[in-house]
Symmetry: C2
Subunit: 544 residues, 2 copies
Amino acid sequence: MALKARVLYDFSSENPGEISITENELVTLFSEEELEGWLEGENSRGEAGLFPASYVEIIKDHITSNTNNNGFSSPKAKAQTPTHASYTSSGSGGGSFHTSQGSDDDWDDDWDDGSPATTAPQGLGTTPPMYPVTSSLPGRRESTQSHQQQAKSSATVGRNLNRFSTFVKSGGEAFLLGEASAFVKDGDKICVVMGKHGPEWQEDPYPFTCTIDDPTKQTKFKGMKSYMSYGLTPTHTNIQVNRRYKHFDWLYARLVERFPVISVPHLPEKQATGRFEEDFISKRRKGLIWWMNHMISHPVLARCDVFQHFLTCGADEKAWKQGKRKAERDELVGANFFLTISTPSVPLDLHEVESKIEGFKSFTKRMDENSVVVNTTINEFARKQAVGFKKEYQKVGQAFKLLAQAFELDQQAYSVGLNKAISDTGEAYEAIGEYFAEQPRQDLDPISDLLDLYRGHLANFPDIIHVQKGALTKVKDCPKQEGDLHDRCNIISCATLAEIQHFHRTRVRDFRSQMQHHLRQQIGFFQKITAKLEDVLQRYDDDQ
Amino acid sequence: MALKARVLYDFSSENPGEISITENELVTLFSEEELEGWLEGENSRGEAGLFPASYVEIIKDHITSNTNNNGFSSPKAKAQTPTHASYTSSGSGGGSFHTSQGSDDDWDDDWDDGSPATTAPQGLGTTPPMYPVTSSLPGRRESTQSHQQQAKSSATVGRNLNRFSTFVKSGGEAFLLGEASAFVKDGDKICVVMGKHGPEWQEDPYPFTCTIDDPTKQTKFKGMKSYMSYGLTPTHTNIQVNRRYKHFDWLYARLVERFPVISVPHLPEKQATGRFEEDFISKRRKGLIWWMNHMISHPVLARCDVFQHFLTCGADEKAWKQGKRKAERDELVGANFFLTISTPSVPLDLHEVESKIEGFKSFTKRMDENSVVVNTTINEFARKQAVGFKKEYQKVGQAFKLLAQAFELDQQAYSVGLNKAISDTGEAYEAIGEYFAEQPRQDLDPISDLLDLYRGHLANFPDIIHVQKGALTKVKDCPKQEGDLHDRCNIISCATLAEIQHFHRTRVRDFRSQMQHHLRQQIGFFQKITAKLEDVLQRYDDDQ
């Protein structure tokens, strides 16, 4: 007897190999076994192909069996086991990243990047799942605009009003009260040193960089499903490893769990459809490069085991799984992270710490607010250049061509050169219109990307600050000045201030280099226009 | 007993020394005597000052005595004595110039440039006079726009549908039929020679140029009335003479009368109020310079007596009046003009002439139409730069300054340089916005001015062509191939084609040089932006 399933929600096929199914329809399953959250079967119209497992209920002993084996695509499973990653992400801005919890299964049976099976269930239980992006990329500017709106809606840093809760959940409280305990190897030690501008993370003695190649499209299931694979080549091994977006996603979740007072850079936006489109691929790659640069320039993140495993483990499946499991079972997460920190010998002055933290809070608030304005403005400017400026220059170009056309009615020898030159001028203006339309990709979009990345960091800091504030409050509340409590509060403060210091240094570095890039691009742009006009000016001399 | 006058039409005082008067109001006159069309008196509110004589009716024996002594500001007088100037002007475009008829009175009792007394009566008799420009110049762009509308409304060359009439009025017919007769001195001879591209005016063997200084404000009537005086210095005498706009106006009328198939360049627009405002003064001066260049580069106009008198007669009142009267009594106007022309020995082929004239007709039509589009487009472009472009760059500038302001909350040593540099970048963008707003004056407005000047020429040509066509039709209609008729037709054709040739040569020269000027200005403009950006880019290096 054929295995049947009842469709719970409408699903529209968007890629080859998928089939559309309708609510309450009965579909025939070819197998009960899921492939990365997908089932294969035939719908009532006789079309055969893949559809998301979570959209159907298998009819068998009246038991709902649509959960897949990693326990991730079921919302219930998710709701019942909140992980560190899930609440940290609640403090972040605008849904521009996505966290995943660890699992023991193999990569190949794991969730797929942005397949409906992972994204749809987020709304399950109350409303039918919304396909997160239902249309293909509607063109560059519009997508920028929607991004802008997102940015606007999350303009205020500091969404997490329950500070105590963050303090508790992060493990800060447990650590402060001396309840954390774990074995810390020398290699796991993280040093905060006293620098010129206050506590800072000890520099990585072996800095490296890592390139990310253009991704290549890979397929599986006989070509029915495909994915993008990025070749990463870190300079300290110089061996390329291949990673998918979901690997980054997994790594991100590990890092967030592992480092409560470190701002892990957000991954570039996840996107379900259109993920093989050139624009999206290029944007995601740019985002991953930024992400990688931030990872690598962070002395703690760059050196940590799970990141090194991610960067260096080759095609050896066994080694990979081993490292993966080790990371997922890491004891030094949350409260225990603080055990790994060694601080400068002289403890910090509490009042000074408090004032620095307050100052930074004001800073992040203002930077977040103003970033929104800057982002909106430059995106609008980019749009104006792509549309308005271009149109104006092209209209002038066409007008000059009209003048040339009128003049061409006089074909005497002494007129011909001028007629051609005016017509060329018209074309030059049309070309300049195109230059204006193309330019923003080079010098405005990167600033916008940088602002987005930093808004991710800014969204991380309220939680980080809450951990430190929680510790400070606890110490203040304690009438007896217990030495250990103070020491542990000092550790949290040192780590927090080191992270703030790192943020500022990276910010100054990134914005300086991005502004320089912007200005150099603008200079090149105006020089290109000048050269075009100089060229066309010559045409007027030719026959004088 | 005090002399009284009844006010016929409302008049609003617009300049110091003038008073406002209201329809039906009784005003007290200080004297019956007019000063350039103005009367001095006191209104019913006790204000004393000047008002236009034509706006009131003096109460004395029930006789209307509001005509002034030059017979010009009375519309009746004007209507009763149509002069050549008045019908020639009917064929011109858009009211952008104004012609005057000669009179024997002294300059100082003459009409004033654009005073209400000369402009208001144009509407008298049917409706109350409309003050031609009731508000002061409303700002550069708006005035450009209204100009544009004028341009639009006169987009079609060839308003004079009664060709025969023009042929008759110009004196073409009389000349063709051998009815013209006058004594032509050698010095009055005008030669048409056969050039490479057909008949052309013989080159001026003594070319010269003429500079026009910034006008100076002169006053009379104890400072109650003032006017602008232009210092002209022609290179062939190198002696400066001072002329007012009304002198140009008088000269223009003489020239139009004198040369039926020559396109006399139109004077820059007349304007009653706001004529001491900087913008208007500078625009009129630019217009007069263009006008002068066109006069001087025309071999016939440049050499003619009345123009030479205008350029060279100094402050000697007697010599001036003598030349003025001589010009006004010149016999070689209209039909007699053709008597002065000597043609190449071989007569032109009639069919070839016809085809050339037809070609030129199409040319002028297209150039006129397309000039309107070009003018509209570049004026719109100028407006966009002054408003939209400026706004966009300034918004980006402000956004960068906001970013800098947020960053300034972090005052660590390594941040300060960047904060300043970003703030400077913001200022640079604001400055660039200003550059965009200012630039059109340099490189778009001159093209617009040139197009206006040429549209004046284009408006002249239909009448010129009609004279030639009239002659051609007459010759064709005549069954007997009378030698004299043919010869005289040939003279008209030669003069017309010489004028067309001159038009094309000047056009090619002017548009080439104006387009070159435009492009050089644009290049300079973009180089200025580049320099600004390069300067600000340096600020980022300063503290690295």
